[in-house]
């Protein structure tokens, strides 16, 4: 291991903005993208239910 202390680790030999700027943005993207996909999936399910309810409503009207 090349780090004497935590401060040394975070300093990255003076390259902290570049190293952490890279890793932070990568981490952010890889965390946000799955959340966006999950929201899209939930939206799709919600829309499905709307379509279903509309179809059921039409059936009931037809029965009346």
């Amino acid at each position: 291991m090349s780090w004497g202390s935590a401060a040394e680790f975070f300093a990255m030999g003076g390259y902290a903005p570049f190293v952490w700027g890279s890793f932070a943005v990568v981490a952010l993207c890889l965390i946000v993208e799955p959340l966006v996909v999950r929201a899209r999936h939930r939206n799709a399910l919600r829309r499905l239910k709307q379509v279903q309810r509309a179809a059921q409503g039409m059936q009931r009207e037809a029965a009346v």
């Binding site: 090349s2 990255m12 570049f18 993207c29 799709a44 239910k49």
Partner: protein, 249 residues
């Protein structure tokens, strides 16, 4: 043909693929998380400081995987697009659409991390050299693919138009890959090649490969999850999708 042979075309129906993909997503996501943890540990705590670049070199542990995935995902996307054009299978177009945003994200991350690596190492965030420019073109190809698909209302026609764009853009991939050989670029030549041993320390190479595998597993997990959403969006009037929503209610 024996009776045991699997009918692979069965899985090309969105209805059968939807639950299958749902079962696969957690496994690939778990593999991605475990590999990323190992890769980051090796990258930050096992791999030594580079004697030329100091600690800035550690950016390659995300830069190289992001760059490779941006190119590889494009090839897979174009492959699905070609299958869709040839066989007219619905799922192929959905797979291509599901891969594009992830590919675009990796192309962006490749450019972003490359800029932050280039500044301390080359003294500049950006140069219009062949490698960097062709990667930027790749990013725009992804954006163009998504914009084109979004602009066409009929999904089957959007698939066809997108497929043509994706296939034409494939020409850019060898240009990116060989740019450091064909032109005199500021970007360094390949450190990893099938023809010879990698020109980097074994432990650095190991950390990088583990990160590549992590990004690979991530890409599979997130695009399978996205294709599930796309299947539901496009099949919302199908009876099986209606039954599924009823069961989930």
């Amino acid at each position: 043909m024996t009776e045991r042979s699997i009918n692979w075309f069965r899985f090309s129906s969105p209805q059968t693929f939807y639950p299958l993909a749902g079962k696969m997503v957690p496994w690939f996501a778990a593999a991605a998380a475990i590999l990323a943890a190992i890769g980051l540990y090796v990258g930050f705590f096992v791999a030594p400081t580079d004697f030329q670049q100091g600690e800035a070199y550690r950016i390659i542990f995300v830069h190289v995987p992001a760059s490779w995935m941006s190119m590889f995902i494009y090839l897979v996307m174009a492959g699905w697009a070609a299958v869709g054009l040839a066989l007219n299978s619905r799922l192929s177009g959905m797979m291509a659409s599901a891969l594009a945003p992830t590919g675009a994200m990796f192309a962006f991350l490749s450019l972003w991390t490359g800029a932050l690596w280039g500044r301390p190492t080359w003294g500049t965030y950006w140069v219009w050299d062949a490698r960097l420019t062709s990667e930027l073109v790749l990013f725009f190809l992804y954006l163009g693919f998504m914009a084109l698909q979004a602009a066409i209302d009929d999904p089957r026609r959007a698939d066809k138009a997108g497929a043509v764009l994706a296939l034409v853009g494939v020409v850019n991939i060898p240009i990116i890959y060989f740019s450091v050989k064909w032109w005199n670029t500021l970007h360094q030549g390949a450190s990893v090649s099938l023809a010879r041993a990698p020109t980097m320390a074994t432990i650095m190479f190991t950390g990088m490969i583990v990160m590549v595998l992590a990004f690979w597993m991530y890409s599979i997990a997130v695009s399978l999850a996205r294709v599930r959403a796309i299947i539901l969006e496009r099949e919302r009037h199908a009876a099986w999708a209606q039954a599924l929503a009823g069961a989930a209610a």
